[in-house]
């Protein structure tokens, strides 16, 4: 009887212990992400690094950022399993890559592509004080026309 009780208590203890540590790591991850997206104007959560993306969708976002010459912080989710899941929970978005501007989730690859094509990205960047390189690239041409 005693043995059963002990085993029961022990299993209870183990489960609650695991739950607490899981919740703790979740909270720590959330805090880490929160700090990262709030202290950087542009953050990209991606697979691989900008020099060597490990997913076509992540690569597309890197190429867009490069075109606009956006300075950004990137995070490789393949190197951190907590972040890989944590970022999906944080933004309630199921896929990678994910782009944050001024602490706000903007979208994944499809949305970035569309925003790039529609010119909306240039506007969003302007709001946070980043001048897209595409603007500077077209300006001299306009002057030439005059």
């Amino acid at each position: 009887m005693n043995c059963i009780l002990r085993r029961h208590l022990l299993s209870l203890y183990n489960t609650s212990g695991r739950l607490t540590s899981r919740a703790f790591s979740d909270a720590a991850t959330k805090e880490k992400i929160d700090k990262l997206v709030k202290t950087n104007k542009v953050v990209v959560f991606m697979k691989g690094v900008p020099e060597a993306p490990r997913c076509g969708f992540s690569n597309a976002v890197v190429q867009i950022m490069r075109m606009h010459a956006v300075p950004y912080e990137s995070l490789d989710v393949l190197s951190d399993e907590n972040i890989r899941q944590g970022i999906k929970d944080y933004s309630n978005w199921p896929t990678i890559p994910q782009v944050f501007i001024n602490g706000e989730f903007v979208g994944g690859c499809d949305i970035m592509l569309q925003m790039h094509q529609s010119g909306e990205l240039v506007e969003e960047l302007k709001k946070v004080g980043i001048k897209s390189a595409l603007l500077t690239a077209t300006e001299p041409k306009e002057e030439e026309k005059k």
Partner: protein
């Protein structure tokens, strides 16, 4: 007499024992898997879509033949009217939540209103090439 072209999709479809998707029977062009059919049905019924395209892009990635891991969906619905892109995408993501949690790994979304769809060239570009990050 056996017509191999027709035989294959039906058999592979029945093997999974899922609901039979009318689209799949109608077109008979490829062998859509059960996940592809579920995605199509969900989008069609819940969003009352005027046009749905579900493209299985798994073959572009390092997964077994016939896998259903990478999809691109094209949805044309009145329900997108007045919604910003991110909200349209969230609608689709939420709708396919179960699929995304149980094996669907990549989902590319094109979400347009009927007007936007009619004004567009209706050409859907295929997704960028895989760079090997899947499966790690």
């Amino acid at each position: 007499m056996i017509i191999p072209m027709l035989n294959n999709p039906i058999r592979s479809h029945l093997r999974y024992g899922g609901t039979v998707c009318l689209h799949c029977i109608r077109t008979m062009t490829s062998a859509p898997g059960p996940v592809e059919c579920t995605i199509r049905n969900k989008l069609q019924s819940t969003l009352e879509a005027r046009h749905v395209d579900v493209i299985n892009e798994s073959y572009m990635h390092n997964v077994p033949k016939g896998a259903e891991t990478h999809f691109k969906v094209v949805v044309v619905s009145d329900k997108f009217d007045g919604l910003p892109l991110i909200k349209r995408h969230r609608l689709v993501n939420d709708l396919l939540k179960d699929e995304l949690q149980s094996g669907v790994h990549a989902l590319s979304i094109v979400a347009k209103t009927p007007q936007q769809w009619n004004e567009s060239d209706k050409v859907i570009e295929s997704s960028p090439n895989c760079r090997g990050g899947f499966g790690k």
